[in-house]
Assembly symmetry: C2
DNA sequence: TTTTAAATTTCGATA
DNA sequence: TATCGAAGTTTAAAA
């Protein structure tokens, strides 16, 4: 039997079923009216209400309210979930260390419980990621600029990794930062930090602010499908460049399409 | 009846129950062997395996494998979920626009299904957030530095928001960036960006790199519980300062403790 | 609606 | 194990 369902189980039955699920490495789903407390990186409390609780064999624990993508409380995998009856009510406790934290759920009324002996060997295959954008640029540097030549991919520097270190048609070095999504101020920051490392023979300590602009012997290029005006201005003000690149690797991006029948 | 459970429902029963749940604004949970396809910001495919599916009345849709905190596929709230039988199998389709994307789940075998008429009026109360850290600093600026005076909180600048704009005992301006967690290079970037705006009478365009270091008439201070060596070096090299601050607002942080009985 | 930054971010790769 | 950066990030707040 892959699934065992209980309707309105009493506290002892809830704890018993939960223990069976944990012991057998099954997934546990509980529909219940409950109270939740979290103590760890921050602390919080959620008063009584109806939620779905999910416990996975890897220690993952989720508390889902009737709305919202994110669980209102949770515990990432790696920890452990335990259960017991306390003051006549079932309690689920999810714990982990590093960081030390805990989520405790006190169940006032359990409407339903499902134990699920799930088997899943499949892994998610994704297309259209930033890694694929990198591949596309590495193979087609001309889409950024005519005559651009990639010298190094993922070059490590003192302050972090540069996506691409390239040289333009005139032999001028170009530091390239690539983003799959609309560029943000933080992305501008990143490029600025990397560019600051490529001053001619100067260390950041010798060049207050670590700043370098076009003309100092190195160019900085932020590649993304779009950017807000503020980001574009920040780039311009600091002698950096924006290159819009929205379409890339279309073949790869569409490779997993049409595997399921369309509606 | 708050919960209705079906065990091994046939395709028509799955679709019927799902439609009832969507119509009544109930939460739907399905244990099933299924295949998943996503098309939107990227695209992806997940082969057959056992998963838990959750549909919420706000359009949220989640596909959970037996491990991991994050759903392998999902749709945030705001869209809609529909269902129908296709080629003899139940199919769940979650869609939204802006951005346009869709998750389609083809159910090969449904082990269990639960409809849950959930009512939850409670909201999560949290302590120990960065906002509270700001309050604590605003009320106790001396924990950063003796004689420091806060001039403005959340000051908007040309390139973003400065957490605190302050003045030290000597009257020198201090730009303060606050982080609740260990400081990262991106946090250093943020501070560097803000500090670059406070040069004496110079616009960033007039000061290549927008860089400013101690001595230029403005100080930059990154406040966090800790920072990696690389971050500390980046700060030092650029004339910026690190202030360790781990304990803050203990009273507030502990205010929600002990609401549930300890184990 | 767009922008901006936080998040109990999680997750994966790398040193 | 710590660090660093991506993510279909999501969420909330502000303009």
């Amino acid at each position: 039997m892959v699934v065992e369902q209980l309707e309105s189980p009493d506290p002892d039955a809830v704890v018993e079923a939960a223990k069976t699920a944990f012991r057998n490495g099954a997934m546990l789903t509980v529909e219940a009216e409950c109270e939740v407390e979290y103590e760890g990186r921050t602390s919080g409390y959620l008063g009584p209400g109806d939620r779905i609780l999910v416990a996975k064999p890897d220690g993952t624990f989720l508390v889902h309210q009737p709305t919202g993508h994110k669980p209102v409380n949770w515990m990432p995998g790696g920890g452990s979930v335990s259960t017991r009856v306390s003051e006549g009510e079932p309690v689920l406790l999810a714990r982990r260390s590093n960081p030390t934290e805990r989520v405790e759920v006190r169940i006032h009324e359990c409407y339903g419980l499902t134990r699920f002996d799930a088997t899943d060997g499949a892994t998610y295959e994704e297309s259209g990621t930033e890694a694929e954008m990198h591949e596309y640029i590495a193979e087609n540097p001309d889409v950024l600029e005519e005559g651009l030549r990639i010298v190094e991919h993922e070059r490590e520097t003192k302050y972090g990794f540069v996506d691409f270190y390239a040289v333009d048609a005139n032999g001028t070095p170009v530091v390239v930062e690539v983003k799959r999504i609309q560029a943000t101020l933080n992305h501008f920051d990143q490029l600025q930090r990397y560019v600051s490392l490529y001053e001619d023979g100067k260390t950041p300590a010798e060049s207050p602010g670590g700043g370098v602009t076009a003309g100092d012997g190195v160019r900085g290029m932020l590649v993304a499908p779009s950017a807000s005006d503020r980001v574009k201005r920040a780039l311009r003000d600091n002698g950096l460049e924006f290159v819009g690149l929205s379409e890339f690797g279309l073949d790869a991006k569409g490779s997993t399409e049409a595997k399921l029948t369309d509606f």
